[in-house]
Symmetry: C2
Subunit: 219 residues, 2 copies
DNA sequence: CTTGACATAGAACGTATGTTCCGCTAGAAT
DNA sequence: ATTCTAGCGGAACATACGTTCTATGTCAAG
């Protein structure tokens, strides 16, 4: 019952509700919906609205005029709500220590500090958190003191990703582009004038997260 | 008539409308407002609503249930609207040419391309535009190929601002921290390992804008 | 063919809701 | 004191709106 397909009419209804709401600041009435979609009968509109509720696109309140509300799910899909997401600021990052990862269980949203980012800046919004860069130790990654790096807790990576790695031997954290090359791993600085690090034994490094975004606020 | 002061009741009404709307996705009815604010008579609520319209805090639609809408003015004041601003992407920036500034008269919002930024990332939202960095010529500013710089068209600057300058002699654009030092101007690269440029004659440089934000999308 | 689920249409109904009118009070203006 | 206005309360009214019921047509399953 949950995953039925939407009819064309129902899609038009959703569109209309959304347009009307953003235009007027309140949702349309059943009769207005009918008029716009070309349904003469209020009961048919009512019927379709209830179907949309079952499908999870709408919420309705009984006996309330215009008691209709687009679901978060839908608003997110159309980008009209969750266009802004709050990314928790969970700490700092510097060369001399591994990245302090937020504990998995603790709700990341409990963090009192957070930065707001528009959704289209991030290709993924799961498991993301922000760190403030302290010191100039990341300049070879073209990241300076005070920058904010948004990371995703993700130990899988693909060639060309920029990752935060903890180098066990050197005992330092660094941000590098990472590449698999045969049996070795190449860590490439973002600064093209600098030389890569070649890691013979993957055991010597620990990928702590993928860098999704770097933000530098100047003025 | 425009600038009357709001009574306490009217303020509570505005608060309630806002809270109710965000909670329910649609505005409250007149009777709901009355109940929450402690007004037994619908006509009194109606009266106050009309006063709020006169003051410019509300819009109303006649004979429409819940036909009430908070003004942009109010939404902006409470920070519930414009949290996201669209910054027009007006071009690219590279060393070999001056910054291509958007023409002052043309509405910057006509730009079809734009990036969305949360308001709290920018200290100012006037006259801001975005440029994409092409090439590696800005690495001494810790800015890499593909980065997006958000600038403000502003020829006034203060010590420590990062600005885009066109160096007439060298015929190149560069991003530097700028400082007034007596009669000369010092342009300091963001990369602390690099040396500053000292400009003896201010005529030799042209400040084209202030860098407000640098964004780098990785994944 | 029959059945049943689904979608639609029209009409009637009940009520939630905005509108309007009349009356009252307190305070400022005349 | 009188007048005028802003603000409030109550009640009646008109209607915008959601709900419900009956009827019709379609189409795939039996």
């Amino acid at each position: 019952m949950a995953k039925g397909k939407l009819t064309d009419r129902q899609r038009r209804i959703l569109d209309y509700i959304q347009d009307f709401s953003t235009d007027n600041g309140y949702p349309p009435s059943i009769r207005q919906i009918g008029a716009s979609v070309g349904i003469s009968s209020t009961s048919v509109v009512n019927y379709n609205l209830n179907r949309l509720v079952e499908e999870g696109f709408l919420d309705r309140d009984k006996n309330v005029s215009r008691g209709i509300r687009l679901t978060d799910k839908l608003l997110r899909a159309t980008g009209n709500l969750g266009n802004v997401i709050r990314v928790p600021m969970v700490g700092r990052i510097f060369a001399s220590e591994p990245v302090h990862l937020p504990s998995t269980d603790s709700p990341m949203f409990g963090a009192d500090e957070a930065i707001e980012i528009t959704r289209d800046m991030l290709s993924s919004t799961d498991e993301v958190f922000a760190l403030e860069v302290k010191g100039d130790s990341m300049i070879d990654a073209m990241v300076s003191d005070g920058d904010i790096v948004v990371m995703k807790r993700d130990y899988h990576w693909r060639n060309g990703d920029m990752v935060a790695v903890w180098l066990r031997d050197l005992e330092e954290t660094t941000l590098k582009y990472i590449y698999h090359e045969g049996d070795t791993i190449r860590l490439q600085p973002a600064n093209p004038t600098m030389d890569p690090i070649i890691i013979e034994d993957p055991k010597h490094l620990e990928v702590q997260g993928k860098v999704m975004l770097v933000v530098r606020q100047l003025a």
